[in-house]
């Protein structure tokens, strides 16, 4: 038997479903909402409702969009020949911060034999179609084991297409200290070292 009124209890149970929020934090947030400005709470509820109403997946790149195409796909000033392939829509915003001006394609996950995620579960057919008109495909997938598997699979899949396929470099982080870098990254940095003079 919960000691809270049903409407507050419903809010707490909804908040608990969010990542990183436990019962205690959900209770604290629930009580905060009770004391917050009524307009702010209604605005928050409305924005959450709008999120479910208007956000959908872009038909072209599978990122999030309001409408059939996302803002990036709609922008004619972007480099239409370069497509950066990412796992999730959230990854796009990481690359946007760098000033990258190409297009994106969200595959929606990575191949994971352990979890039963295969090529049919990812947005790969659309990528193949888009690759036929692209100049370069950048595989910007995480460097985890599953990510590497996906990168290698995509390389194989795109081998027959007339397009340059690249992937993100693996190595030391900028400003990083060698002391904090793991053995695998050091080995990889060594084997993929780059020439810095013309000798």
């Amino acid at each position: 038997m919960t000691p809270y009124p049903p409407s507050l209890e419903r809010v707490i149970q909804s908040l608990v479903k969010l990542p990183g929020i436990g019962q205690k934090t959900a209770r604290r947030l629930g009580f905060f909402l009770l004391t917050a400005e009524k307009e702010d709470v209604i605005e928050m509820a409305k924005s959450l409702e709008d999120l479910t109403k208007y956000i959908q997946f872009c038909e072209n790149c599978h990122s999030i969009a309001e409408g059939s195409l996302c803002e990036i796909c709609k922008d004619p000033h972007r480099d239409q020949g370069t497509i950066c392939v990412v796992e999730e829509p959230a990854d796009i915003f990481i690359f946007e911060r760098t000033g990258f001006r190409g297009l994106y394609h969200v595959i929606g996950g990575v191949l994971s034999p352990l979890d039963g995620v295969g090529p049919d579960d990812l947005n790969l057919q659309d990528l193949l179609k888009r690759a036929s008109t692209a100049k370069e495909i950048i595989l910007a997938i995480n460097a985890s084991i599953e990510g590497e598997t996906t990168t290698l699979f995509l390389t194989k899949l795109l081998a027959d297409q007339d397009v340059t396929v690249t992937r993100l470099a693996r190595g030391l982080p900028v400003g990083g200290n060698l002391e904090y870098v793991d053995d695998l990254t050091i080995s990889r940095s060594l084997s993929e070292r780059v020439k810095v003079n013309n000798g």
């Binding site: 034999p113 979890d115 995620v117 290698l152 982080p173 053995d183 080995s187």
Partner: protein
């Protein structure tokens, strides 16, 4: 109690903002689940090496009353650079981790299976040209060491010498085509001969075995079905289907 042992990482799951839950196959304690606190922080090198298939040396605080142990330290015992650059090796390695995770039990040491898995993953990294054969070797040795060695010599129904074998979906045994008219998995003469040779071949000498690749792949499907039938933890393996979809 602080325990130090070699371990193979089987499954890694992010936990909270910065930690990882890692399922390990340890040399001394069998399957152990540990929490690696802070492993996902940028300055923590553990995150990069705590990946499925990694061959590790781990130190963790072990308490039998706890389901999840606390990882203190981890280092890479053997690198896996070549595996990470080869789709076939990566996929087969992941399939090996799925299979072994289904066989071993929590806090139940299985030193022979540990040695087998460690050696096969190491060979996958260091050898070239017979990755499927290594996977087949792993499956066969796994069957043998878990007490389910398939009878590759005679039909389990009529006792005649097998020239071609059909996998029986009813008994889980090998039968001759006269006794079994199911349209299931059929292993030809080459495949049978290969499996027979493989039972007496040392891992170091696998390169000497030759055979058509299709027969090796067929034998892999055959043994996978055999293991799925006999070992409870291996019902409905996901990796073989994904390997097929990837084209491995």
């Amino acid at each position: 109690m602080l325990t130090s042992t070699d371990a193979i990482a089987l499954k890694v799951t992010p936990y909270s903002e910065s930690s990882l839950i890692v399922q390990l196959f340890t040399r001394d304690l069998g399957k152990v689940t540990v929490i690696a606190k802070g492993a996902r922080r940028q300055k923590n090198p553990a995150g990069a090496i705590l990946e499925p298939m990694s061959l590790l040396t781990v130190d963790f605080y072990h308490k039998t009353s706890r389901d999840i142990q606390t990882l203190k330290d981890v280092s890479l015992a053997s690198g896996a650079l070549k595996i990470r650059r080869d789709l076939k090796k990566l996929s087969l390695g992941l399939a090996i981790t799925e299979v072994i995770a289904g066989v071993i039990a929590e806090d139940d040491p299985a030193p022979i299976l540990f040695r087998l898995t460690w050696k096969v993953l190491q060979s996958l990294e260091t050898t070239e040209g017979f990755d499927h054969l290594l996977f087949l070797f792993f499956l066969l040795q796994l069957a043998i060491h878990t007490g389910f060695k398939p009878n590759l010599e005679t039909c389990s129904s009529c006792g005649k010498v097998l020239k071609t074998a059909v996998f029986s979906n009813n008994s889980g045994e090998l039968e001759c085509p006269s006794c079994n008219r199911e349209t299931g998995l059929v292993l030809g003469g080459h495949g049978l001969a290969m499996l027979r040779k493989l039972t007496v071949t040392h891992i170091e000498n696998l390169g000497e075995l030759t055979g058509p690749r299709e027969e090796t792949e067929n034998a892999v499907s055959f043994l996978t079905a055999f293991l799925e039938f006999h070992i409870e933890g291996l019902h409905k393996l996901k990796a073989p289907e994904i390997l097929r979809q990837i084209g491995i």
